[in-house]
């Protein structure tokens, strides 16, 4: 089983969100970057589990600048065999997907795994675009992944239930909670990660189709209005008359 796992960086959940002076770029000052949790906990760990039972290799791919290295080394420490970084800006989803597709094309990956979204842009777009660019089937938001012969067998939560989906290999999958459990890298993994191969490849030609015009912060919440627990029943009237939500 030859698996490619897409690894994106994301600001730690507790990071302060701020922007540059003209509000067009995220202010990275003092921000701790982590491996995007959906990529790491679910996509990467399930890929490693499949490799452990079926044999094969797990390669990670990231699109970004040299500052990506700590995040890539973390993925290697968890257990990926080798890593690729496409030296290109993370411009927009189609540009990033084009870079991943350009690298993966013709290399014979059985599975390309991504997290269901990044916790920074929450788009859920890149894996679907990679699938289309490579003319592969796509199963988003999978909570379970097993291999049965030449097919992947996946589960996905739908409203009020679970669907079991069979997809012919090779396939592109986006991973949601449930696919695997987080793994903490051990000292041996961290040491080994230092010398595992990290290949840097040049960007492929691709166009950028969107741009950030401006970031802004959501309007601040007004102060919380407290209701005494003995008068809890008043809340229903307030929700109807003042908040007008019931």
């Amino acid at each position: 089983m030859k698996i490619l796992v897409c690894v994106s960086k994301a600001p730690d959940t507790t990071s302060r969100i701020a922007f540059n002076a003209d509000q067009t770029a995220f202010d990275e000052n003092g921000v701790q970057f982590i491996v995007n949790p959906y990529d790491e906990w679910y996509g990467l760990v399930r890929a490693l589990e499949l490799k452990e039972t079926l044999g094969g290799t797990v390669t990670t791919i990231s699109v970004g600048g040299a500052d990506y290295e700590p995040v890539i080394r973390k993925a290697l420490a968890i257990g990926a065999d080798d890593a690729v970084r496409v030296d290109a800006p993370e411009s927009d989803a189609l540009y990033v997907a084009s870079q991943i597709a350009a690298y993966a094309r013709g290399k014979g990956f059985d599975i390309i795994l991504c997290g269901k979204e990044t916790i920074s842009f929450n788009g859920s777009v890149v894996p679907g675009m990679v699938a289309e660019l490579l003319d592969l089937p796509y199963v988003p938001l999978a909570t379970k992944l097993d291999i049965d012969g030449q097919s992947a067998v996946l589960e996905r939560e739908v409203s009020g239930g679970v669907e079991v989906i069979e997809a012919k290999l090779p396939v592109v999958i986006s991973a949601a909670k449930g696919m695997a459990e987080q793994r903490i890298p051990n000292m041996r993994g961290i040491m080994a990660a230092r010398t595992k191969p990290l290949e840097t490849v040049a960007a492929a030609d691709a166009s950028v189709t969107t741009a950030i015009k401006a970031y802004s912060m959501p309007p601040a919440k007004g102060a919380c209005r407290y209701i005494e627990p003995e008068q809890a029943g008043d809340l229903i009237r307030i929700l109807h008359e003042e908040a007008k939500v019931i």
């Binding site: 189609l94 859920s124 679970v162 008043d234």
Partner: protein
Amino acid sequence: MAILVFADQHNGTFPKSSLEAVSYAARLAQTTGTTCTALTTGPVEGDGGLGQAGASRLLVTDLKGQDSQQLTRLVLAAAEKEAAHIIIFSHDLMGKLVAPRVAARLGAGMVSGATALPDVSSGFVVRRNVFSGKAIADIRVDTEKKVITVTPNSVGIVMTGGAAQVESFSADLGEARTHVRETRTESNEHGIPLPEADLVVSAGRGLKGPEHWGIIEELARELGAATACSRPVSDIGWRPHHEHVGQTGITIRPNLYIAIGISGAIQHLAGVNGSKTIVVVNKDPEAPFFKAADYGIVGDAFEVIPRLIEAARQFKSAR
């Protein structure tokens, strides 16, 4: 030039999220001086209410299954037939399945999870949430062809009183490389899918055990709300996983979110901070959730909830 909107349906009925996407497409069509055509898979009675939501035409196909490549070929064929330059989806499972593929095939700029109609006064700019709801981004789309998915519960529906002209449609869809083997149904008390619910009653570890969920379900029933829960509660199996809202669960933006016995960790807030009104009930006055709340009750859930149920019952019977 036209706008095409994919309207997902379940057994002939369009959920609110599909009507919202159609209404979004119709309003954008009006602003930009063009028409709105809807596309759906599977039979509908009449126009299924899509004319009311603003579609002037409805293309109906009998494609079964959810293979993303077949659906993509279908949407591309419909877009070509209609000469559509903008294609709209709801930001639901179907939108996530198909919209990125369509955008990649067309080389179209895509905005995922729009929360407002595009601003076309200067260029084409679409607003969406980023950083798990902690910030907003205005995205400029620079391509002639555009793909947008619309966040449910964020743009409303404007009824136009029209009717859509219905037409059957077929295209060469090629083979399906994915198949649904089976669908397992889990209990869903009120039949209100959580992502579409206007009102949500949610509870966490403060409830102390799964046996205490009766009062949560009763309050939800009296309000006509869906039930949800925090991550620890679904992780330890007190509640089913599809009820888990938060960063790793599902993201919702109901009109009313009542959080009972949930402290309000940042990961939980990321899944609910788009809610219009937030009510927090917690016995700990220092619970961080109160900072994000519109209304707060500091008190014991087991005393407060029965009062809420009683008041909701009286409210319902007085109407």
